[in-house]
Amino acid sequence: MLTIRKLSRRFREGEQVHRVLDQADAQFRDGEVAAVIGRSGSGKSTLLNLISGIDRADSGSVQFHDIEISALAEPGRTLFRRKHIGFVYQFFNLIPTLDVEENVRLALELNGVRGAEARARSVEVLKEVGLGDRVHSAVDRLSGGEQQRVAIARALVHRPALLLADEPTGNLDEETSRQVLPALLSLARSRGATLLIVTHDTLLARMVDRVWELRDGRLQEISCQSSGQQASAT
């Protein structure tokens, strides 16, 4: 269970203070696939950063199972992220100097899995995302959809309990999105991971278990039907 309690985060820009999250509350069940929608600048990415421990909240807490992420010091948050979280980004964020398999293997090596086992597991996940024939390709030779599938493989390879996806289809055309999204969802579900997706994608909002809207710094659960309309409006 991922629990967010009274989570607040402000940013200062000169004299102005932007209240991005303001006492936000939410709960996500284990194995659930949830989408968070909201306007640009509403704080969706900040929410993911706070959940993953990349950023620290001004107040409130983030708890995953019995671990209170927000109470951990920086090294603890890094180790938590390394072990329990998989990240998928809008711009893929692959390491350009590594090939496809190496990008995926990196997540395993950071978790202490090395050598032949790491290679075998990386190739296995790449086959699952349909890139078994591109294992040693340079990442900048791949299409956007392929790059995102590498990113998904990297996010899943170490079997994290929590998957965070920040606009995973935001940089893909509609047709590619239709290929990538089902792959992401089915892989997350087959592994029993909790998947939290920040998105504008109406198609995606209709495929998830629950939809939350982030507005005025607070999270509010909305129905799947209305979420589709709202997402398309943002």
Binding site: T78, R81, R82, K83, F87, N93, I95, T97, E109
Partner: protein
């Protein structure tokens, strides 16, 4: 290889130009340090070997004064101490075809038992076959020398050739050569002791007696017994003492060289800092990804420092090889300076001491690691956010520049405090100097930013591209600041050294004008002291030459004071020459009368080294035993850094029983010209002795030539440091250009012509060079003051008057602007030919 390391390595390999420039910068820095170490070690080693070449196994030496030791003492000692080893030596200088060499007379029957174990069986004499050995004893003028030296001087075996010994010609014959595997003979001419006595006019005298005392417990009593048998005018000294003293003489000179080479390494440090900073900045997104994936700050720190360590290791290796090659060129300059200022040494081979390898490795590693430390911590400590904006980075750089400006003030103050409070410590003096140079580097980014903002504002109405060019320099302080700081520091050092050398030159010129007052100088040529003497019968003839109105007579020799050889000038001065000396302590009016009645005058460097004041007593070993003299005055002297003692010729002759004359200063009648009198003097000397007869102008000129020669190596070193800084600037400009290629592409898409793009980059490069100069000029003056008032004073004891001229800034101007413009050429060319479509294409 772990993927994390592979990512790091591949990033470095993807930017080969930056990597190569960083390696070049570091390697040249390391190489300069190593080259100086090798060159000075090689010179010291060559000198040490030359001292050990003859009788290298001697444990002690019996030394006399300028007139040497009575050879009867040797006979007596051998008879009274049959259990001890003794070998007589007569040593002096001779030249062959203009090359000065040590002439060493040995007793071939006594010397073999003194061969050092390393020199091989039998030593040089062991290499002679029997027929040649007979020649050694029966034929006059036979000599031996190193095979390579003989070849170099074109001296063939059994072919008579001419030797010049103190202006006198002698015919010598080479009867055998010493193989090149026997080190230390490169600058030696070996002859029989009786022959050497004849050539050096030391009939019945020895220069020293080498002694071999038994090892272990028996040594102490044997030494005491031997000491008790010696007359008061000779001393028993440990054999290593002479070597150490001679090498110690050069310590101030070699310390200065090391400091100059450290400067090059300090510039390298800034280059490494710049390179690693760039590498980190270029990978800020990758570092962010790694951190988001769970890489700890420690992982990131490890990667960056490991990269620096690899860079350091490769830089150290390349630097060591490069240093060894530079050392071959540098060793000539070092040995030339040592020959000019200290002692005769011939360095045929460079040695690679273990210290050089350690220095190279340490310098490479530490420079790279220290240079990488700040960017590594910055990379590791940053929040794991992917989108670290450029503006955030630059605002950090601005904040750092402000803090550095404050640090600069503190460093400047620290430098002044260290310089003022560290007494006579040369090391602390260099510490203060380096703090001053670091203070310049720290101030540079803030000055650059302020100037660039000002220039952008000034350009705003005239040229939008100009405004953009300068705004970019100010707005990219994280890139431009370090490069300009490195260049500024190198230029400040260059200006400082130029002003110091220029001031020294002018002070020397003024000193030569004051002290070289006679119209014509006549001296016995050659190196060394006692054996340089004008033939006694010739002195009177020369002084009676028509046109001579007055004269001074001098005898030049050396005495040992506080463990070092000090020049002793015994002078009978002409009335005109007295005002030539400038006293820095003591009353000039009373000093000369005290001098005439037995007091001595002491030069400033000696007074500084031994902390002497006018009015104090100084004990000097004389030919009649140790005597205490009152110091009548301390005078300014730039002739040598070990110091001089001046005493009246009458006093000297009485105490040393030496009537020889080394030189004459001749004052002419008003109606005669110096050319006329010199011609007459040469005619008088012809056939008797080849003397050096020079006009005062020529003598001053010769002194200035030696001065210029001794500073050649300093110039070479500061140009090397400047070269490293130029490499740093090129590296920074390249990296900067690489990073903003998209921006230049965009400007090109908006209508900037290729020439305009090139001009933009060149204008920025030129501006950066100019700013380095602007910072360096005042800093250079302060550096010069530090060099003159602190470093030179502490190293050599002399005071130099400050002289500044525009010529002293010309090298700095040339380096800063030329280096900056040259560094901008390639980035400008790249900017001009950028393919717009490629550069502005979205990810």
């Amino acid at each position: 290889m772990p993927v994390l390391w592979a990512a790091s390595l591949r990033h470095l390999m993807r930017h080969p130009a930056q990597l190569a420039l960083a390696l070049l910068g570091l390697s040249v820095g390391v190489a300069t340090l190593v080259a100086v170490d090798i060159a000075t070690a090689s010179a010291a080693r060559a000198f040490e070997l030359s001292l050990r070449a003859v009788n290298g196994a001697a444990t002690h030496e019996i030394l006399g004064g300028p007139v040497g030791i009575d050879e009867q003492l040797y006979v007596d000692l051998r008879l009274r101490n049959p259990e001890l080893g003794f070998a007589p030596i007569v040593a002096g200088y001779a030249s062959i075809g203009g090359q000065t060499m040590q002439l060493v007379g040995i007793d071939p029957l006594a010397s073999p038992q003194f061969e050092a174990p390393a020199s091989g069986s039998g030593g040089p004499m062991g290499r002679l076959d029997l027929s040649r050995s007979a020649q050694w004893f029966t034929q006059a003028g036979t000599i031996m020398m190193a095979a390579a030296t003989a070849q170099e001087l074109d001296v063939g075996e059994n072919r008579p050739f001419e030797l010049d010994i103190g202006g006198r010609r002698a015919t010598a014959t080479l009867i055998g050569t010493i193989a090149d595997d026997q080190a230390g003979y490169d600058a030696l001419i070996l002859t029989d002791i009786a022959q050497a006595q004849g050539w050096l006019r030391l009939r019945g005298r020895l220069s020293r007696i080498d002694v071999r005392l038994p090892a272990g417990a028996a040594a102490g009593p044997a030494e005491s017994r031997l000491r008790a048998q010696l007359p008061p005018d000779v001393q028993l000294e440990p054999a290593q003492g002479r070597t150490r003293e001679s090498i110690d003489m050069t310590s101030a000179f070699t310390t200065n060289l090391r400091a100059m080479s450290l400067l090059a390494l300090m510039v390298s440090l800034l280059i490494i800092y710049g390179t690693i900073s760039f590498a980190v900045v270029q990978r800020r997104r990758v570092v962010g990804i790694l951190r988001a994936l769970g890489a700890t700050p420690g992982d990131v720190l490890e990667i960056v420092l490991a990269e620096a360590a690899v860079l350091g290791a490769v830089g150290a290796g390349v630097g060591l090889l490069l240093g060894a090659s530079i050392a071959h060129a540098l060793v000539g300059l070092v040995s030339q300076t040592i020959n000019d200022l200290y002692f005769v040494v011939s360095v045929r081979q460079t040695v690679l001491p273990a210290s050089s390898v350690v220095i190279a490795l340490l310098a490479g590693f530490l420079t790279a690691l220290v240079g990488a430390l700040v960017p590594a911590f910055e990379a590791a400590a940053g929040a794991p956010q992917l989108g670290l904006r450029r503006s955030v980075l630059e605002s950090r750089a601005v904040a750092v520049a402000r803090r550095l400006a404050l640090a600069s003030v503190l460093l400047g103050l620290g430098s002044a405090i260290v310089a003022a409070s560290s007494g006579r410590s040369l090391l602390a003096g260099f510490g203060a100097l380096f703090m001053l140079l670091l203070s310049v580097a720290a101030l540079t980014p803030a000055v650059l930013r302020a100037a660039a903002i000002g220039a952008a504002k000034a350009c705003a109405r005239v040229s939008p591209v100009g405004r953009l060019a300068f705004s970019e320099v100010a707005g990219s302080l994280s890139r431009t600041g370090v490069a300009v700081a490195a260049l500024g520091m190198a230029i400040a050092a260059m200006i400082g050294v130029s002003i110091m050398v220029g001031s020294f030159r002018e002070s020397l010129r003024a000193w030569l004008e004051r002290t070289i007052r006679a119209d014509v100088y006549v001296t016995a040529p050659g190196a060394g002291g006692p054996e340089r003497r004008i033939e006694p019968e010739l002195v009177g003839i020369l002084l009676r030459t028509p046109g001579v109105a007055d004269y001074s007579i001098s005898r030049h020799t050396q005495v040992e004071l506080a463990g070092e050889q000090v020049e002793l000038d015994a002078l009978q001065s002409a009335a005109h020459s007295r005002p030539g000396l400038v006293f820095v302590d003591g009353d000039p009016r009373s000093a000369w009368s005290a001098f005439a009645s037995g007091s001595i005058l002491v030069s400033e460097p000696l007074a500084w080294r031994l902390r002497l004041r006018a009015g104090q007593q100084l004990t000097i070993p004389t030919g009649s035993g140790a005597r205490s003299f009152r110091i009548a005055g301390i005078y300014r002297e730039y002739g040598n850094d070990r110091g001089n003692v001046m005493m009246s010729l009458g006093e000297f002759r009485q105490l040393w029983h030496d009537e020889s004359v080394t030189g004459l200063g001749i004052y002419l009648r008003p109606d005669t010209s110096s050319a006329q009198v010199m011609m007459r003097l040469r005619a008088q000397a012809r056939g008797r002795q080849a003397l050096l007869i020079s006009s005062n102008a020529r003598l001053r000129e010769l002194s200035m030539e030696i001065f210029e020669r001794t500073f050649v190596i300093t110039r070479v070193l500061y140009w090397l440091a400047g070269g490293v800084a130029a490499v740093g600037l090129l590296s920074a400009l390249l990296a900067w250009e690489l990073e903003r290629s998209r921006e230049v592409g965009l400007l090109r898409a908006l209508g900037l012509t290729p020439a305009g793009a090139a001009l933009l980059v060149e204008a920025q490069a030129g501006f950066m060079g100019l700013m380095a100069l602007v910072v360096a000029i005042p800093a250079g003056f302060l550096t010069a003051l530090m060099l003159i008032l602190v470093i030179n004073r502490r190293a050599f004891g002399w005071q130099i008057d400050l002289h500044v001229s525009s010529a002293q800034l010309s090298n700095a101007l040339l380096l800063s602007v030329a280096a900056a413009l040259a560094a901008g050429v390639y980035p400008a060319w790249r900017g001009a030919r950028a393919t717009i479509a490629d550069e502005i294409r979205e990810e």
